[in-house]
Amino acid sequence: MRHFTLGALFAAVLAVPAMAADYTIIAPANPGGGWDQTARTMQDVLQKEGISKSVQVQNVPGAGGTIGLAQFAEQHKGDPNALIIGGYVMVGAVLTNNSPVSLADVTPIARLTGEYEAIVVPAASPHQTMADLIAALKADPGAVSWAGGSAGGTDHIAVGLIAQAAGVDPTKINYIAYSGGGEALAAILGNQVTAGVSSLGEFQSQIEAGTMRLLAVSAPERIEGVDAPTLKEAGLDVDLQNWRMVAAAPGITDEQKAAITADIEKMAKSAGWQEQLASKGWSDTWLAGADFDAQLAEDTAATEQVLKSIGLVK
């Protein structure tokens, strides 16, 4: 086995494969992030399942994905071999950055995965339930500091929605933006802030270890295996999913769109993809076609409204 792999390695180094790429996937973020991992997982599965002979991933980082999106819409117009990864964060980033190109300027194919937001407090926190936290928020919004990802991102929007649902002025929230869920995590563990908001996956291992207390999740229903109420159960009408999607270039024909959708659906239903989702802790939130278009429009409108009420979009 080892001899074989070593031989394969040398073969890979020596032989220069001369294959045309069937798909180029643009990951509008730096290597290592969620969108990049989604793109690379797709690359892996598309090739292994034999759906595509060769797939290339290209990183175009910047500004919540809007730079990649703008470049994609312009350079790949009508190109049926180009795909881009996107997500809910992009919806907000398009609005806050006044990006001239939005998700309406590409051809959304399908929603692939998603993660729900988790509201946590440090283990030493006096707040035992979501109701305790909300009571503190109502008493003095400034005294409740929330750690989460960048300003205007999913985490910030979640806090805005929670405040709104609790009847607190969303402009009064004391949101402490960190460069990502990870850095916020350190602040929560260190007891620097009152509460933390990020994707459930970022906090999962800490919650299991008992260093953080999970107060609520932003799912519409209870998540299997997660011992926490939904925000709705806690009396807050908030339901938010940080989803990731794949889109094709603008200006492709309906047949081309159908062919791409078929390929992506084949990938998403494959055993290889499901295995990858399980190992990465991503949930399958597959949604395509008219349902996805409707969901996208709904999310965009709701996001615009909440960003306006937080005061990030005028």
């Binding site: 180094v13 001369a18 045309a20 790429a21 290339q56 290209q58 400034g142 004391n174 005061g311």
Partner: protein, 178 residues
């Protein structure tokens, strides 16, 4: 930032005041001071248009740019004074021709990268840089540069899967890669 120094940015100091020192005041140093002042002013101007949304911290997004802009203007004044007092060392002498060749190489690569692909664009950068360092025979260095860049392209884009722009040359050998 400061480009090649324009000859008269600031009035030259009064010759009567000039102490008997071996070196003269370099006008380019005033251009450096002026450049710093301009950067400082731009920062102050930009900070002025930010909304003061300081939130609970009372320190808004404009405070740091204001401080940095102010200090840069202060440093510009200090540079000018230090130049007048001959405290600032003379700039290194430098030949301009070679610099322009290297810059031309970088520009050529920048402009040609998307059109002609990595190998041709980077090959030109190689040849023009070598020209800047005195290798004048472009008929040799351009093909040599393109050949080297092509090998680099092949290794990095085909073996290591790094996404590098392909042009006609790359497509000729590797088919219609993206």
């Amino acid at each position: 930032m400061t480009d090649r120094p324009p000859p008269h940015t600031d009035p030259a100091p009064d010759p009567a005041e000039r102490p008997p020192e071996p070196h003269v005041v370099h006008p380019s140093l005033f251009a450096v001071a002026a450049g710093l002042a301009v950067i400082g002013a731009v920062m102050l101007w930009d900070a002025g248009r930010l909304s003061g949304a300081a939130g609970y911290s009372n320190v808004g997004p404009a405070m740091f740019p204001r401080i940095i802009g102010g200090v840069l203007i202060g440093l510009a004044v200090w540079t000018a004074i230090s130049t007048l007092r001959r405290d600032f060392p003379d700039p290194h002498p430098s030949a301009h021709g070679p610099i322009l060749w290297v810059l031309a190489g970088l520009t050529a690569q920048l402009l040609l990268l998307k059109v002609a692909g990595f190998s041709i664009a980077t090959g030109l950068l190689f040849a023009l840089t070598a020209r800047g360092f005195g290798k004048r025979n472009l008929a040799v260095t351009i093909p040599l540069g393109i050949a080297m860049a092509f090998v680099i392209w092949a290794v990095f884009s085909q073996v290591l899967m790094l996404n590098l722009p392909a042009g006609p040359l790359e497509r000729l050998f590797f088919g219609a890669a993206p």
